[in-house]
């Protein structure tokens, strides 16, 4: 039934398309009969209809001949519409386009420069190799056409043709012609020459930028439109002045561009200023000051997106010069209509520029953002206040006072965030925080214990546990309600806290500790929890005095550290200034996939063929952005996904390999009941992915892979498990996708083998249940 419906639909579509074809033919007959202007427009609506049909995804390639005929017309709108059709069809049915060659040839000779331009615009899309020499010839004529419009269009078409057939373009002395058009009287032609040279000579680093061309372009800079000014300035960044005087000359020439209405021009200019100042340390601060006001003005007038980009660049400038924005802190106060992504960046700036004199003002301002409805901003504001209090002396008590007041509001998300931050404060200044923690019993029910505030709360509670009479009862109620708190970090902190409390108040806590140990040793529990339980149990069992020593010592140990700023890309910021990598906070090689010159051949099919692949990498990117989940530096990526083909190449290319055996003999149970599925689940739960698996006799065989999330290091492994002899043979290979990384892989070999061993051992636990 369904198929009947589809065929009915497609029949109807076919009829529609056929009807359009008929109407096109009829309309064209009208023109030949009447020879009047009015009739020519009669085709317009039909071609429009064809375009609409095409946009709806219906195949209209059968109309190609008719539309090509319609392209030879004096009606420019109709010509444009027909060309629009031809160019779209050209991507999909390259063989059809040959039909249009004659039309192009005629139009390239047309007396109307606009028609010539139009033909140049579209004709490189004919991917028909025999046609290329003709195109090269037409282009070289077009480059000396009398119309600037034709010349500039021809220049871009040179790039298109170059991507189609690099050889023809390079052979045909077009490059020389391009250097000639650099001196064209029309600025748009000059600009497109630069674009063409930069693209065609991409492998050689783009157009040659020498003193002559630099000064020539600087002299003409104001003739270019704003977009081409961006381009020219971006190209000139490659120029290295021969002496300091020339440095100053260039800065003087460019000074006005700092006030340009287009922020793209402004930032390109700022980049040149910073680069020129790089060689002359004594003027650096002055140059930074010079570029500061234009950036602050952008904050006031730019669109939210520009303000956002500007803030990210200000963060980079702050690293170059700490004092630069310190007095302008009020510019970074929140404006109430602005989107939250802007406010979050402003908070980051404020964290960095607060000084002794401004910090109270700033903290006071930020504290006003906390009670608003936006929870993300509330949390970030609390963190920002904490960071400022750490960095600057003597404001900690002030912030603490604000936090204590806010705890009184009883708003859940605010309390959770503050508790997390207080744990950090505790490290910094235990006396000040300790005395105010008596509020804990009254606020703890508002804390979201499944967030990172959970462990923080427990840590705080036990630190001052001796003074708070209610402490054991709070912990006990948590233990009784354990199934609601599955997070490992929380459970481990709970173990630590209960033991600490027990050491101080054994009588009250003995019962609950026993209960907690019993829960936590359960074989179904997470490995880390079980290990920690066993460790604590043995410690207490062996030497309770020692335990007491240890636990008083590590009271304030905390896993997170708000002070560690992200230091990424500090050294490489300048070349990446005024590019999107500043917005990502990443170097460009980390997110850019180098575009392949022959992009036309890289068809759409490749993109569409593996949607699953897309999604996984997409997730990975998101997770990369929010990464920093654990601090121990070794985390297995949860989203890694490798295709079989890639696996094979990696397997062949990775040189670092390591073979070892794991014996499971210490388990009493027989492994014979284990199935492939059981084992796969264990590995997959622990982020080791299965490439392939199989069994033969007593052997189970697996190909596994995993990726360390921070470094991107890949582990591939062949695992043979003999169920009878309880012996696993492992052949492991380590490497990196891009191969160029020569990190010390041995460290990772060790980690991966440890992980593998651990999970193998876990298999035995599986059998006993």
């Amino acid at each position: 039934m369904a198929s009947g419906k589809v065929s009915f639909l497609s029949q109807q579509q076919n009829r529609e398309v056929a009807e359009l074809g008929l109407r096109l033919k009829e309309a064209s007959e009208n023109v030949t009969i009447n020879h009047m202007g009015a009739q020519q427009t009669a085709k317009r609506p039909i071609i429009k209809k064809v375009l609409e049909t095409m946009a709806a995804g219906i195949d209209v390639s059968s109309l190609f001949g008719d539309v090509v005929k319609a392209a030879s017309t004096k009606d420019l709108v109709q010509k444009k519409l027909a060309y629009m059709y031809i160019s779209t069809q050209a991507e999909q049915n390259s063989d059809l386009v040959i039909l249009a060659v004659n039309t192009f040839r005629n139009d390239l000779q047309n007396e109307n420069p606009f028609v010539r331009g139009l033909a140049l615009l579209i004709s490189p899309q004919i991917r028909f190799m025999d046609y290329v020499p003709y195109m090269v010839e037409s282009l070289s004529h077009a480059l000396i056409d009398s119309s600037a419009y034709v010349r500039k269009t021809a220049l871009i078409s040179c790039i298109k043709l170059f991507h189609l057939s690099p050889k023809h373009v390079l052979d045909a002395s077009l490059i020389d012609q391009l250097y000639n058009t650099l001196r064209d009287r029309d600025p748009e032609v000059v600009a497109n020459s630069i674009i063409a040279l930069n693209s065609i000579l991409h492998s050689e680093g783009g157009m040659t930028v020498d003193t002559n061309i630099t000064h020539y372009l600087l002299q003409r800079l104001r003739e270019f439109n704003e977009w081409h000014q961006c381009l020219v300035l971006d190209t000139l960044i490659r120029y290295k002045p021969s002496n300091e005087d020339e440095n100053f000359d260039i800065m003087n020439l460019l000074d006005d561009q700092l006030k340009h209405h287009n922020s793209g021009v402004q930032l390109a200019t700022i980049k040149i200023f910073i680069k020129l100042a790089e060689g002359i340390p004594e003027i650096q601060e002055d140059v930074y000051k010079r570029v500061k006001d234009p950036m602050l003005t952008l904050l006031s007038f730019g669109s939210p997106e520009i303000v956002y980009s500007c803030l990210e660049h200000i963060i980079v400038l702050m690293r170059l010069s700490r004092q630069l924005f310190q007095e302008d802190y009020k510019h970074f106060y929140r404006r109430f209509k602005e989107p939250s992504f802007v406010t979050l960046r402003k908070l980051e700036v404020l964290e960095g520029i607060a000084t002794k004199t401004s910090s109270k003002d700033i903290i006071n301002e930020i504290s006003g953002y906390i009670t608003g409805i936006d929870k993300v901003i509330a949390q970030k504001s609390i963190e920002s206040i904490a960071k400022i209090s750490f960095r600057i002396e003597n404001v900690l008590s002030y912030s603490l006072e604000i936090f204590m007041k806010l705890l009184g509001t009883g708003i859940d998300n605010i309390i959770s965030s503050i508790i997390t931050v207080l744990e950090e404060f505790m490290n910094e200044s235990p006396e000040k925080v300790g005395s105010s923690l008596s509020v804990l019993p009254s606020v703890w029910t508002s804390i979201d214990l499944s967030s990172q505030a959970g462990p923080a709360f427990l840590n705080l509670l036990t630190t001052v546990g001796c003074q708070i009479p209610e402490a054991p009862y709070i912990v006990e109620s948590l233990i009784d309600d354990l199934e609601n708190y599955p997070a490992t970090s929380f459970r481990i902190q709970l173990l630590n806290s209960t033991v600490t409390l027990f050491l101080h108040r054994p009588a009250e806590c003995r019962g609950m500790l026993a209960k907690l140990f019993k829960y936590s040793i359960d074989p179904n529990e997470n490995l880390d929890i079980r290990e920690r339980t066993l460790f604590l149990y043995r410690l207490l069992h062996k030497d309770i005095k020692k335990a007491k020593e240890i636990f008083t010592y590590q009271r304030y140990a905390s896993k997170k550290n708000l002070n560690n700023n992200n230091t990424k890309m500090r050294d490489k910021h300048l070349p990446e200034f005024n590019t999107i990598s500043i917005l990502y906070g990443n170097n460009s090689e980390q997110f850019l996939v180098e575009p392949i010159p022959g992009i036309f051949t890289k068809g759409k099919d490749e993109f569409l063929s593996s949607p699953a692949h897309h999604i996984s990498e997409f997730d990975e990117l998101i997770s990369l952005q929010t990464q920093n989940m654990t601090k121990d530096g070794f985390t297995l990526s949860t989203t890694v996904s490798i295709e079989a083909k890639k696996f094979k190449t990696y397997w062949e290319n990775f040189t670092e390999n390591y073979e070892f055996e794991v014996s499971l003999l210490d388990s009493s149970a027989s492994l014979m009941s284990l199935t492939l599925d059981d084992i796969e689940t264990v590995f997959e739960e622990n982020n080791m992915m299965i490439m392939a698996s199989g069994s033969s006799g007593d052997y189970l065989k697996f190909f596994l892979y995993a990726q360390e999330a921070n470094s991107g290091i890949l582990m591939l492994c062949e695992l043979k498990l003999n169920l009878n002899s309880k012996l696993a043979k492992i052949n492991m290979k380590i490497g990196h996708e891009t191969q160029k990384m020569n990190l010390s892989l041995s460290k990772y070999t060790e980690y991966f083998s440890q992980y593998l061993t651990r999970y193998m051992k876990e298999l035995t636990g599986l059998v006993t249940t």
């Binding site: 420019l76 977009w227 793209g264 006031s300 936006d374 992009i599």
Partner: protein
């Protein structure tokens, strides 16, 4: 180097305009973006806007929100974000200029005109031109106007959405001016105010973001001469005060079409305005600003009624007596545990209204025609679900003011002279000058 350009209507996920420029990015890019926006809202809630850039598989998406429509570029190159965002904004303005208004409907009606424009603006991912004059000579389609009643709906939507452009003086497409009526030019001087102050009236921060916008229906870029007050000083110095020295600009910038060579000395500029809408000048003033409104809030916990609180707010208009704010809206966030709210007008005047939005616990007080030299007072009585702690005070405010004052500039900048030198015209063009002071972010801490 832009790979694709498209315009999305995010509500229904419709792709209104889509142009492949380099064929090096996936064709389903718009869907990827929509997916990403949806995931973002699921993870972060609808009140959070996603950052205007992200990367999927080596493809970078840069987008701006123009009147509820997403304007998007994709690229594989490490481009300048500033240039791309400027370009997206400029394309939006151009579409508005050529089609009359920018809306979903006008885009649908005029899609082939928009494609014509795009083909001239960007070739193979390289920006060519955005000059209205040049584009006009390449573009042949006629704009199809959106029906009248739809424009009204559109402008109503604008009124509701704060912060929209007051300067859109006319919704005519520029190409219609070829045959319609005499030539006209609209000049709007708009000052947006950023201010925050303490409950005692002390100013914590104040800034004027001024701009001069021009909308020109004049043919052939005629020369316009415009002069401002002569008492403008550049580059603020901490030691100077404005009483002595005049109006002090922290920073300013001009559009390319302005020749400011005479500005330093005589505060005169020569403008060759392109047709359509252009911001010809921006200036920024901070410090020594006489703010138009002061707000004095007080909170009183009602004795012996722990779940009752009174918030009294006084607003005073410190503008000349012959000026007034059309409408002044004060939004007062109240504590989360607020259960009911009532108000007491202190002076019984009837040109004000009061609303309470229980969902987000906001009290909204609107005063109409707030005249210079007068003051208004309101007492908001709040009852809480439980008793108010001292910390509840923290949840009241900050009070946000939104207003617009016509015929008034906060900085006292005026246009002293305006002359249009149009060749071959017997009838002088119509000139319209308007002044506005509007709130950008006007906040009173409680």
């Amino acid at each position: 180097m832009i790979s694709q350009f498209f315009i999305l209507s995010p509500q229904r996920g419709d792709i209104l305009i889509f142009r492949e420029l380099r064929h090096d990015t996936p064709r389903d890019a718009p869907d990827l973006l929509l997916d990403r926006l949806k995931t973002w809202q699921k993870d972060n809630g609808t009140e959070q806007d996603p950052p205007p850039i992200f990367n999927v598989d080596g493809v970078n998406f840069l987008f701006t929100n123009e009147q509820g429509l997403y304007f998007v570029c994709t690229t594989k190159f490490n481009v300048s974000p500033f240039m791309i965002y400027e370009l997206l904004g400029r394309i939006a303005t151009l579409i508005k200029d050529f089609c009359g208004i920018l809306s979903e409907e006008s885009l649908r009606l005029n899609s082939s005109l928009v494609y014509e424009l795009l083909d001239e603006i960007i070739d193979y991912g390289y920006v060519q031109t955005t000059s209205t004059d040049q584009l006009k000579s390449y573009v042949y389609e006629d704009p199809i106007p959106v029906k009248r009643e739809n424009i009204i709906i559109n402008s109503l939507a604008k009124l509701k959405a704060p912060g929209t452009n007051l300067g859109s003086s006319s919704n005519r497409p520029i190409t219609h001016s070829r045959d319609e009526r005499s030539s006209e030019v609209f000049i709007d001087m708009i000052e947006r105010l950023v201010a925050s102050f303490a409950p005692n009236g002390m100013t914590a921060q104040a800034e004027i973001d001024g701009s001069i916008q021009i909308k020109s229906y004049l043919q052939g870029n005629p020369e316009i001469r415009l002069a401002l007050n002569s008492n403008i000083v550049f580059g603020r110095d901490k030691d100077m005060s404005s009483d002595k020295y005049g109006i002090m600009f922290d920073d300013y910038k001009f559009h390319d079409s302005v020749d400011p060579s005479d500005f330093d000395e005589h505060k005169r500029m020569i403008i060759y305005p392109p047709e359509g809408e252009t911001t010809i000048m921006n200036y920024r003033i901070s410090g020594d600003i006489s703010l138009p409104f002061r707000v004095f809030p007080t909170i009183l916990h009602v004795p012996r009624c722990p779940n009752r609180m009174d918030v009294t707010i006084k607003i005073r208009a410190d503008i000349p007596e012959d000026r007034f704010a059309n409408k002044c809206t004060l939004t007062v966030p109240l504590p989360r545990i607020t259960q009911s709210v009532s108000k007491e007008n202190m002076d019984g005047s009837d040109n004000q209204s009061f609303q309470y939005d229980d969902q987000i616990k906001n009290a909204i007080w609107t005063v109409n025609n707030l005249r210079g030299g007068t003051a208004q007072l309101i007492k908001i009585k709040i009852t809480g679900a439980t008793s108010f702690s001292a910390a509840a005070d923290l949840e009241v405010g900050p009070i946000i003011l939104e207003f617009d004052i016509p015929n008034y500039t906060c900085s006292n900048i005026q246009i002293r002279r305006l002359k249009v030198y149009e060749k071959n015209k017997s009838i002088p063009p119509q000139r319209w000058i308007r002044y506005f002071t509007i709130s950008e972010s006007y906040v009173c801490r409680v």
